[in-house]
């Protein structure tokens, strides 16, 4: 990175050297790009709203929707969900505005979908800015159908909106690099601030920005502009700590940070390597990498930008002990753009030779481009289609969708269980769902009484025996998802069920295939009434 202190603001558009291969276009790029973009938006919308309401919220969705409901002062929820928990509240703030107009779980998911569609559009703009329309449109198509983005942007999670703002930041940064106008660097500060204001872990991406500026000497950055940009980012982020302090909850964020720093790993080291590539699309990854290799002679600051954006969070989250399915979502648009670049460049440079030609020229065929693009689109679409089906399982990976039976169990509680009745679940995940749909306080047995070993957002049950005996805990909830993750606490909870004459009063079941391929009905959530 070269920091220039001189007033070297070029009023003309700065255009780093880009190899423009003068080829005879065999397609009308604008028309095809617009067509692909339209397909991307329509397909993106379809994949994101198909059966969107088939299953209720998972635990994280319940928390964020609950916070938004608390901000919107939704009766029944505002006293159960504390507004300030772990993360900043930009998305919850936006959702609360929606909830003031109409409160339902699907309203939250629709907002997530709209933001997801926004990401597709920004990805297109990014690809178009960095390369041209066609790579942008192909990237948009990929992100529209990519299972990773489809799955997450169907849910009330922070990662979808965070990815939108992160992609916007990337776009702003590209505009700055391309034009060298400081105002775009300030815009980078703004959009990066919004990204952090959506989810604080995205602060890692600031590292990506600095790595890019350091590795791209052709992008001139004045120290003063950089400071202003960082200051603007700080100003935009300020509501996060400010609102916590003003509302008298200053210890919340601090406790959460301490817990995050010292908590134990929740997934093995190879988690991302096994989970993320299929979610991104193996073919998309291969094409992106192949493009980097075969087009290496054309490399410029553009690839440095995208690679820095990808590598920094990947390295960080791989090293960081706490892992989550959706944590790496912000890299998806960058990968899609790299893949779009590879395919887009290909078609733009293709020459109209015969289809059946020697291997050397075979890959120079436009038809091959369309075939490969079609294959990638099909594989992404097929994978996404499979994952958005309300197919149900007795196990569950956080961040991948709704919890079967969770909403139904919660609504049953809401209708039939006494107001202010208290529930004990195996872990906090089911507790959140019960609190959202059931509007009754619920506590996870697995939440450690040791403050160093628990998420500070959760209250532990210090003495379940005493609380059951004193009629302070009246219902116990067993669920197969938590039981598969915490067999110890599942057994412990069932011990209380037996000890206190537990009587099953409601069961949610699902039909799943057993090992022999037969469909069997299995209980996934059982609500017990206990009698001290």
């Amino acid at each position: 990175m070269r920091i220039s202190n001189s007033l070297n603001v070029s009023e003309t558009v700065y255009e780093p050297e880009v190899t423009r291969v003068k080829t005879k276009l065999i397609v009308n790029e604008a028309a095809v790009s617009h067509l692909l973009l339209a397909i991307a938006m329509i397909a993106g919308l379809f994949f994101r709203i198909w059966q969107i309401d088939a299953m209720g919220f998972n635990t994280d969705e319940a928390v964020y929707a609950g916070q938004a409901a608390a901000i919107a002062r939704v009766p029944g929820l505002m006293d159960i969900f504390p507004v300030f928990r772990a993360h900043p509240l930009l998305f919850q703030f936006l959702l609360s505005i929606v909830y003031r107009i109409h409160f339902s779980d699907i309203a939250g998911r629709i907002l997530a979908v709209v933001i997801g569609l926004g990401t597709i559009l920004v990805t297109y703009k990014l690809g178009k800015l960095l390369y041209s329309r066609l790579p942008g449109a192909v990237a948009a198509l990929f992100i529209a159908l990519m299972p990773y983005h489809v799955i997450v942007s169907r849910q009330v999670l922070l990662d979808g909106p965070m990815t939108f703002f992160a992609t916007l930041t990337l776009y702003m940064l590209a505009r700055f690099a391309k034009t060298q106008r400081p105002v775009w660097l300030y815009a980078v500060g703004v959009s990066m601030g919004l990204t952090v204001l959506t989810k604080e872990t995205s602060i890692i991406l600031v590292g990506g920005i600095f790595v890019f500026l350091a590795l791209a000497p052709e992008v001139h950055t004045r120290l003063r502009d950089l400071i202003i940009s960082v200051a603007i980012m700080g100003l935009v982020i300020a509501p996060f700590p400010m609102s916590i302090i003003l509302a008298g909850n200053s210890s919340t964020g601090r406790n959460y940070l301490v817990w995050q720093l010292f908590r134990r790993p929740n997934h093995p080291w190879d988690f991302y390597f096994t989970v993320v590539p299929p979610a991104l699309g193996i073919l998309v990854l291969i094409i992106a990498i192949a493009g980097l290799y075969f087009l290496r002679r054309e490399h410029s600051w553009r690839e440095k930008l995208l690679l820095a954006w990808i590598i920094v969070p990947v390295v960080f989250f791989e090293v960081w002990p706490v892992k989550g399915y959706q944590y790496l979502l912000p890299i998806a648009p960058a990968i899609a753009v790299l893949a779009g670049r590879a395919l887009g460049k290909w078609i733009l440079q293709a020459r109209g030779t015969r289809f059946f030609s020697p291997i050397k020229t075979f890959f120079n065929q436009p038809a091959v481009f369309w075939m490969i693009t079609g294959l990638v689109v099909f594989s992404l679409g097929f994978s996404s289609w499979q994952q958005i089906q309300p197919e149900i399982s007795t196990q569950f990976l956080a961040g991948t969708g709704g919890v079967p039976g969770g909403r139904e169990a919660g609504l049953w509680i809401n209708e039939y269980v006494p107001v202010k009745a208290k529930f004990m679940t195996i872990g906090p995940s089911m507790a959140n769902i019960i609190e959202f749909y059931g509007e009754r306080p619920a506590y996870g047995l697995a939440v450690s009484p040791n403050p160093l070993h628990r998420n500070p957002s959760y209250d532990p049950i210090l003495n379940p025996d005493a609380q059951i005996r004193n009629s302070d805990l009246q219902y116990l909830v067993w669920d197969s998802f938590s039981a598969s993750r915490s067999p110890f606490f599942s057994d412990k909870l069932m011990g209380y069920v037996y000890k206190y004459n537990g009587h099953a009063i409601h069961t949610e079941t699902i039909t799943v295939k057993d090992q022999s391929g037969q469909y069997v009905v299995k209980p996934v959530i059982i609500i017990y009434e206990v009698y001290p």
Binding site: E11, I71, L89, T179, V190, V236, A238, M242, P418, S471
Partner: protein
């Protein structure tokens, strides 16, 4: 003089004890269907507190008047005065609550002998002026917030537990002429349970830690368990001890939970405690837990939607209360006692000022199940139907906590701060991006204009 007084008591007793209708003849049970949505009445009788002692500072209730001062000696103003004080964790004792203590405290209606009556019995009279509030009995105050609190409920007799429990079941005072055994008098005294039995209306008398061997016949040397005979007045009736058709209805409290679970809760349930009675100086929290467990089990049973739960206190226990009890006959009323009604049809946070006593419970049973009054007292008493609102559908039950809801620190509403700060950040962001975009477009326009001009 004494003899004339005794005869007067005896005659009055006999008069008020006369059954107003036959109670032993079986009748058509179809004519005894509930006249209200209440198909299950559960009444719990706790021990020894006045209304002012528990709810004297409860907002909106007829509580301790401002400026209250109780003379240490009504006949000697120079002895000083004691103002009501919060008991909190102060050690208390079982205050005298005999008829003579009542008379001294009542002092012919002047209601100024609460301290002197105890002082004269070698007790610390100042204790009588102590009161509890939501800090000490949070559960009951929470119940009052959400259901109905009666502030004109009087104990039926100006006496201790046994008399008042007798009014609760038979609407009469348990008096026997000299030389006549009480059991002989009671042999001809109808109770509400005789009436219910005859009417085919189900009933049970649930007793915490019930010991069937403890009856009036074998009550001595049982230590604290002797109270079972007082708090379960039916154990003074030979027929309720010997007749299995009746005695089988007196059961241990554990059966209450079984009945709730099996959906076999009877129409009328009387419940008395054993150790968790709140009788001074026992733990108030223990009593609240006891009531909470009874009530919560009712709330989550199938009976809830057609139930009414009544919490009563049998006598004043020697505590101060500022309302002069009306004297309806020679035996009562006694001082005011706390009373709370919980029901899916109970009004919300309502303070009922209807003048009631324990025979009002009998009145409700009699009117709800079409049963004739037992005696003059219940025939003349008021019902507590004013506490219900049967026009609304049954409310979902509420599991109220053992901590005071109203005292929970009021959370600052963070909404304005969030809308201002996050909205401000969003506005700032959009402005800067908008400016960047506008300047970029203007630059492009200028450039293209320059190009075209050149």
């Amino acid at each position: 003089m004494i003899r004339r007084y005794f005869i007067a008591i005896l005659l009055t007793t006999m008069l008020v004890s006369v059954p107003l209708s036959p109670v032993y003849a079986a009748s058509d049970s179809s004519s005894h269907q509930p006249t209200t949505p209440i198909q299950h009445l559960v009444v719990v009788m706790q021990e020894n507190h006045t209304f002012d002692n528990y709810f004297g500072t409860y907002p909106g209730a007829n509580g301790i008047p401002a400026g209250t001062e109780m003379p240490v000696d009504p006949n000697n103003p120079a002895a000083g005065y004691v103002t009501p004080w919060h008991i909190g964790n102060t050690t208390i004792t079982d205050l005298s609550h005999s008829t003579s203590t009542f008379n001294d405290q009542y002092n012919n209606g002047k209601m100024d002998g609460f301290i002197s009556a105890l002082n004269s019995r070698n007790q610390d009279g100042k204790l009588a002026m102590g009161y509890y509030d939501g800090r000490d009995i949070p559960y009951y105050w929470n119940l009052a917030d959400n259901y109905v609190l009666f502030d004109q409920l009087f104990s039926s007799a100006k006496d201790g537990s046994f008399s008042n429990h007798m009014y609760w079941v038979a609407a009469v005072s348990p008096s026997a002429p000299k030389g006549v055994k009480l059991s002989d008098v009671l042999a001809n005294t109808p109770t509400i349970f005789d009436s219910l039995q005859a009417a085919g209306v189900s009933w049970k008398f649930y007793v915490q830690n019930y010991d069937p061997t403890i009856t009036y016949r074998d009550v001595y040397n049982k230590g604290n368990r002797e109270s079972q005979v007082i708090w379960v007045p039916l154990l003074n009736f030979d027929r309720f001890i010997d007749n299995p058709n009746l005695s089988s209805h007196i059961v241990d409290l554990s059966q209450y939970y079984v009945d709730l679970r099996n959906g076999t809760l009877p129409s009328v349930s009387y419940i008395v405690p054993s150790g968790a009675s709140e009788h001074p100086p026992s733990s108030l929290m223990s009593g609240q837990r006891f009531i909470k467990s009874i009530l919560q089990e009712l709330e989550r049973s199938t009976a809830w939607n057609s139930s009414a739960f009544l919490l009563l206190y049998d006598d004043w226990g020697g505590w101060y209360d500022h309302v002069t009890p009306p004297q309806v006959d020679l035996f009562g009323y006694g001082m005011r006692v706390p009373g709370i009604l919980v029901s899916p049809y109970a009004k919300t946070g309502y303070i009922d000022h209807t003048v009631l006593d324990f025979t009002s419970v009998l009145k409700f049973i009699e009117q709800n199940w079409n049963i004739a009054p037992l005696a003059q007292r219940d025939a003349n008493s008021n019902n507590f139907l004013t506490a219900f609102d049967f026009n609304n559908t049954a409310r979902l039950p509420i599991f109220l906590p053992l901590t005071r809801i109203a005292q929970a620190p009021v959370k600052k509403d963070p909404t304005p701060v969030i809308y201002l700060s996050y909205g401000g950040a969003l506005f700032l962001s959009l402005s800067i991006i908008g400016i960047a975009n506008y300047r970029s477009k203007r630059k492009k326009t200028d450039t293209s204009r320059e190009v075209s001009e050149s």
